[in-house]
């Protein structure tokens, strides 16, 4: 293992930002794994730190393929993490909306450019991703449909679902999208939590990434058996909105199979405690996303169900 500084940025009042990468093996650039780019992506950083541990062990046992190099970058934006901010503290910009970056541009464009130059050239890229809404996910793998990456490759993770997302304009400045434009087969792995550690979900994500690496011939690793992944189009999932606002109580679990009409959640008036709405699923399927904040506004996507 080699621990290297991939990119540095001076600050007027803090110690220099040094983005650390861990390299394993040597030869062909096979896989880059990237964790936290936002300051609250603690679970994403944790999964990467677990990958560093797992790869150290595999390397010491000689189980990394002869011609394979793996890069793990647990945390790009620890500056925000250390002060409790999600985005870049100075201007509230999101590094993951700045790719491919620009070396003469604004600060977060320069950070994106600096790290992207080190993330490029790998055959595969995995980002530990978080979602822009508060919520919990069934661990799954997702890719953007740019026409470059074969969705069938997602089956090698052995997660229950592989979701294909049609990119929207605001996705075109993300790492995942730009990786594919620069010919890296890119995937986002969702490990349930964001600003807290979910060890069980992290175990599942680590095993999924090791399984992927084993299936792709990058390492030799024994992992628990995975699922036969179902590949689905994101447009085929059902988003369920809250029709009322108030205190939100989820009454279903992530991963649960539900039938049309089942109650998934209830909303109560926050002042007088009256039940104001029951959230029922209009389709049968598997719950893969649930909102998890106690307060909910109307028209909030509170569940997603894979039909």
């Amino acid at each position: 293992m080699k621990k290297k500084i991939l990119f540095s940025l001076k600050s007027p009042y803090r110690e220099q930002l040094d983005v650390i990468g861990f390299r394993f093996g040597h030869g062909r650039k096979s896989l880059a794994i990237v964790g936290a780019m936002r300051g609250n992506e603690v679970q994403q950083m944790y999964v990467c730190s677990r990958m560093v541990q797992a790869l150290k062990k595999l390397e010491s046992e000689g189980k990394i393929a002869d011609d394979a190099e793996i890069l793990v970058v647990p945390c790009v934006n620890y500056y925000s993490m250390n002060i409790g901010k999600r985005f870049w503290a100075m201007d509230n910009t999101d590094i993951n909306r700045m790719f491919p970056g620009y070396d003469l541009g604004e600060t977060t464009q320069r950070i994106a450019d600096g790290v992207f130059s080190k993330f490029q050239g790998y055959e595969y890229g995995i980002q530990l991703a978080s979602f822009y809404q508060p919520g919990i996910f069934l661990p799954h793998v997702k890719m953007m449909d740019t026409g470059f990456t074969d969705p069938e490759i997602m089956k090698d993770f052995g997660l229950e679902f592989g979701i294909v997302r049609k990119p929207r304009p605001y996705d075109t400045t993300t790492l995942n999208y730009n990786w594919q434009i620069w010919e890296t087969k890119a995937f986002s792995v969702y490990a349930n939590a964001t600003d807290e550690i979910d060890v069980k979900a992290a175990d599942e994500a680590v095993n999924a990434i090791l399984r992927f690496m084993d299936n792709r011939g990058i390492v030799t690793s024994k992992t628990p058996p995975g699922y036969i992944t179902e590949i689905i189009d994101e447009d085929m999932t059902k988003q369920i909105q809250s029709e009322a606002a108030g205190l939100f109580f989820r009454v279903t679990e992530i991963g649960k199979t539900v039938e049309h009409g089942d109650v998934l959640g209830r909303i109560y008036d926050p002042l007088d405690g009256e039940l104001v709405a029951e959230i029922r699923t209009p389709v049968s399927g598997t719950v893969y996303f649930a909102y998890n904040s106690p307060l909910i506004n109307a028209k909030t996507v509170c569940f997603k169900v894979i039909k």
Binding site: Y132, A244, L295, N297, K299
Partner: protein, 312 residues
């Protein structure tokens, strides 16, 4: 008449409500929409909305058409000094056209677009952010330039910046409305979290002039200035390479020569100048940094080169 464009209940005893004011007189159905307050830290448009509305109230007999004023597309952001929508990650101006089946913000954006569509002209007023000060300008993407530049010239701005189209900008309000046939001009002026009265007055005169050209205004108007159009010009960017405190020595609107001293980035701890910021080309400073703290990459100034000017 104040109307509700969208209203969605919030968790505790309150609704998020987007409102507009319709001012109408005469038989002419030509409709001008003035929208602002997409970013909660941009306040120049608040004063402009007041100026237009109060002036029309006092001179209603000279109006022949419809003015719709949307002062706050992001009222919670303005109320909490938050650029974006509080508790929502994405910039509101990257969520258009929205959808009725999406998140709360997407539902709101969809309602806003539905309400604005069909306006003859829409003016989307932005300030700069808190970091930079901008001269009054209209920004137009290349594909819409032919249609929009004639209207931009009516608005009494100093500068019309025709910029390349970018995929990420397809989710802005202006792109959405222009692609639906509603001519939409994006104005940038001033600085975030402040009101620059002279700029508001300048744009106010431009709005009246535009209304006159549209046949909506029968009263007097002031002469408008001929803006510099960016076609044929180049824009030079001065970014900081060092971190520290930026202290300018040039002023906003100054004409400079390449290599002229614009300001210094200083280190208060060591008392050293860590970077001398120099003009990258000849031209006029039309953007200047207002907020002193800088990192590597922070934009310090933009310089508009004269026609035919070449950046070194």
């Amino acid at each position: 008449m104040v109307e509700t464009v969208a209203s969605i209940p919030l968790a505790v005893h309150e609704s998020l409500t987007i409102q507009k004011r319709r001012i109408q007189n005469g038989k002419n159905q030509t409709r001008l929409s003035l929208v602002t307050g997409t970013h909660g830290d941009e306040l120049e448009g608040q004063y402009l909305a007041y100026m237009i509305g109060s002036f029309m109230d006092a001179h209603m007999d000279r109006l022949n058409g419809i003015i719709d004023i949307y002062p706050a597309l992001n009222p919670m952001g303005i109320d909490s000094i938050t650029r974006g929508i509080p508790m929502f990650d994405l910039d509101m101006n990257r969520v258009f056209p929205g959808t009725k089946r999406g998140t709360m913000v997407e539902v709101i954006c969809s309602s806003i677009v539905d309400d604005l569509s069909g306006s003859d002209v829409c003016i989307d007023v932005h300030s700069s952010n808190i970091f930079l000060k901008e001269i009054p300008q209209v920004r137009i993407s290349v594909p819409t330039a032919k249609t929009l530049v004639p209207y931009a010239k009516m608005l009494n701005v100093d500068f019309v910046w025709i910029h390349d189209a970018a995929t990420v900008l397809e989710s802005t309000l202006a792109h959405t409305l222009n692609s639906r046939g509603t001519k939409t001009l994006v104005v940038e002026m001033g600085v975030g979290m402040r009101i620059t009265k002279e700029y508001c007055q300048q744009l106010f005169d431009g709005v009246l002039n535009l209304m006159k050209e549209l046949g909506m205004w029968k009263g007097e108007t002031s002469p408008v200035r001929e803006p510099i159009i960016s076609e044929g010009h180049k824009v030079g960017f001065v970014n900081s390479d060092a971190a520290g405190i930026f202290v300018p020595c040039a002023s906003f609107g100054d004409t400079v020569k390449q290599g002229d001293h614009i300001g210094d980035v200083i280190d208060p701890l060591t008392s050293k100048v860590v970077e001398r910021a120099l003009a990258v080309c000849d031209g006029m400073i039309f953007t200047l940094r207002e907020y002193p703290v800088v990192y590597g990459g922070s934009l310090l100034a933009r310089i508009l080169q004269p026609v035919g000017g070449e950046k070194s």
